[in-house]
C-alpha cells in the first residue's frame, strides 16, 4: 500500500513538474479563459443585474472549454514518446496511472479556477469569491477531470485526437454542467441552501461514479 501511494505521488509530481518547466498548457489555458471572458462581455452586453445571474454559467463554460484544451495534451507526452508500456511495467497497479493523471488534471483545473474567478470579479465588479461557489466549482472540476481523463486517454490514441475529445466528452458531462450552473446560481443569488442542495449531491454522486468506472476500466485503455 505504501508503494501504491509512493507511485501515485511520484506520478503526480512528474506531471506537475513537467508542466511547471514548460508552462505550455497552463499559459494557453489561461489566455484562452481570459480572452473568452472578454468575448462574453461583448457577446452579451447585459445590465449588471442580469449579469450577476448569468455569472456562474459564464464562468463554468469558460473553465470547461479551457479545461478541454488542457485535457487534449494530458496524455500527449506518454503517447508521443510511447512511454505507456514503460509506465504499465513500472507501477504496482495500472489504476494508479489513471488516478495520478486525474489528480494532476484536477490540480491544473484548480489553478485555472483560482485565477479565472478573481479576474472575472475584477472585470465585472462582482465578487465571486464565495466559499460555497468555490466548492461547487471544485466538485465540478472533479467530475470534469474524472470523465475527461478517461476519455482523453482514449482519444489521444485515435486518428482525430483533439477533434474528437469535446464530441465524446460534452454529452457525458451534461449532468455536471446542469448541476454546476444551477448550484452556482443558487449560491450567487443568495438562495436558501436547501433549494440547491440536490445539485451539489448530483455533483458528488457523478464524481464518485465516474471515478469508480474509470478505475475499473482504465486497464483496457492502455493495455492491449
Amino acid at each position: 500500500m505504501k508503494n501504491w501511494f509512493g507511485t501515485l505521488k511520484a506520478l503526480v509530481w512528474k506531471d506537475l513538474l513537467q508542466e511547471w518547466r514548460s508552462k505550455d498548457m497552463l499559459t494557453s489555458m489561461l489566455a484562452f479563459a481570459i480572452l473568452s471572458l472578454f468575448i462574453f462581455n461583448y457577446a452579451m452586453e447585459l445590465d449588471p443585474l442580469q449579469r450577476a445571474e448569468l455569472a456562474p454559467g459564464v464562468i463554468w463554460v469558460v473553465i470547461m472549454f479551457s479545461g478541454t484544451l488542457g485535457l487534449n495534451r494530458s496524455f500527449l507526452a506518454e503517447q508521443e514518446q510511447g512511454s505507456f508500456d514503460a509506465l504499465v511495467m513500472a507501477v504496482p497497479d495500472v489504476a494508479v496511472i489513471w488516478l495520478a493523471k486525474q489528480i494532476s488534471n484536477f490540480l491544473i483545473m484548480l489553478i485555472l479556477i483560482l485565477i479565472t474567478l478573481p479576474v472575472y470579479s475584477v472585470l465585472y465588479n462582482q465578487n465571486l469569491f464565495v466559499p460555497l461557489f468555490l466548492i461547487v466549482l471544485i466538485l465540478g472540476a472533479w467530475g470534469f477531470s474524472a470523465a475527461g481523463t478517461l476519455i482523453s486517454g482514449m482519444t489521444v490514441q485515435t486518428r482525430m485526437r483533439d477533434l474528437l475529445l469535446p464530441v465524446l466528452l460534452f454529452p457525458v458531462l451534461m449532468p455536471v454542467n446542469m448541476a454546476v450552473v444551477k448550484a452556482g446560481q443558487g449560491v450567487i443569488s443568495g438562495a436558501d441552501f436547501s433549494t440547491y442542495q440536490v445539485w451539489i449531491s448530483i455533483l458528488i454522486v457523478y464524481g464518485i461514479i465516474m471515478t469508480t468506472i474509470s478505475l475499473l476500466v482504465f486497464d483496457y485503455v492502455i493495455r492491449e
Binding site: I151, Q157, T158, L168, V172, M178, M210
Partner: protein, 237 residues
C-alpha cells in the same frame, strides 16, 4: 454465420408483417383523440421508437461489458450495430415528437427532460460511432467502444434525473401523477402492438446488421492476408 439463415428470414418477414399490422391499427383501430385530434396518432410510433432508442443503448452497454470480459469481437459487432440502430430510432422519436409538439405545445422544441435526454443520447451515439471510426486496430476499436458505451450508459440516466429536476410539460403515460394522459383500452392495445412490432424489428435489424459487420470483418481479414502474401510481409492479428 454468413450462409443463408432460415430463422432470420422468417423473423424478417414476420417483423415486416407486424409493423404493417401496427400501422393499420394506428390508422383504423385506434380512436381519434378528443382534444388533440389526428396528430395524436403519431404518438404510437413515437413511443415505440423512443423505447428502441433506449433499448439499443442497454444492448450496447451489455455487449460492451461482455466484450471486455470475453474478448470476442462478435460482442463488439453487436454493440456497434445496436448503436447505429439506436441512433436511427432516437432520431425518429425526436422528429415524431416535434411533429406532435408543434400543434400541441405550439413550439417545435422545449427544454423538457425527455427531449433533452434523448438528444444528448443521440449525441452519445454519434460520439461512439466517431470514436470507433478513428481507430483501425479491431481490438482497440472494440475496447474503446465498450468503455465509451459504458460511460455513456451511466451518464444518460443522471442527465435525465438532472433535467427532470427542472420542470416538465411532457405528458406522462406510465407511473405519472397529475400529468397523466387519458387513454382508452383501444389506445393501449395499439400502443402495445406498436411496441411489440418495433421490438421485433429491432431484433431483426440488429441480427442483420451484426451479420453484415461479421462479413465486413471477414473481408478485412482476407484483404490483409492477400496483402501480406503480395508484399511478403507477416501480418499479425
Amino acid at each position: 454465420m454468413l450462409s443463408e439463415n432460415k430463422p432470420l428470414k422468417t423473423l424478417t418477414f414476420l417483423s415486416i408483417l407486424l409493423v404493417l399490422l401496427a400501422f393499420l391499427m394506428v390508422i383504423f383501430y385506434a380512436p381519434v383523440e378528443l382534444n388533440m385530434g389526428m396528430v395524436q396518432k403519431v404518438f404510437y410510433f413515437h413511443v415505440s421508437a423512443a423505447w428502441l432508442g433506449m433499448l439499443a443503448f442497454l444492448v450496447a452497454a451489455i455487449s460492451g461489458i461482455l466484450f471486455l470480459s470475453k474478448k470476442n469481437l462478435l460482442y463488439d459487432h453487436i454493440a456497434a450495430s445496436s448503436v447505429e440502430i439506436g441512433l436511427l430510432f432516437t432520431a425518429i422519436a425526436n422528429f415524431t415528437g416535434m411533429i406532435w409538439a408543434r400543434p400541441i405545445w405550439n413550439t417545435w422544441w422545449t427544454w423538457d427532460p425527455r427531449l433533452t435526454t434523448m438528444t444528448i443520447m443521440a449525441f452519445t451515439y454519434i460520439a461512439f460511432i466517431l470514436l470507433r471510426r478513428g481507430i483501425d486496430e479491431p481490438y482497440k476499436k472494440a475496447r474503446f467502444g465498450a468503455i465509451y458505451a459504458l460511460v455513456g450508459f451511466v451518464s444518460v440516466p443522471i442527465t435525465f434525473f438532472s433535467a427532470r429536476l427542472l420542470r416538465t410539460i411532457h405528458p406522462i403515460i406510465i407511473g405519472g401523477g397529475s400529468g397523466e394522459m387519458a387513454m382508452t383500452s383501444r389506445m393501449y392495445q395499439t400502443m402495445a402492438a406498436g411496441l411489440v412490432a418495433f421490438t421485433l424489428l429491432f431484433v431483426v435489424l440488429l441480427w442483420q446488421r451484426t451479420r453484415l459487420a461479421e462479413a465486413a470483418a471477414v473481408i478485412d481479414r482476407l484483404k490483409a492476408e492477400q496483402n501480406a502474401e503480395e508484399f511478403g510481409e507477416v501480418e499479425n492479428g
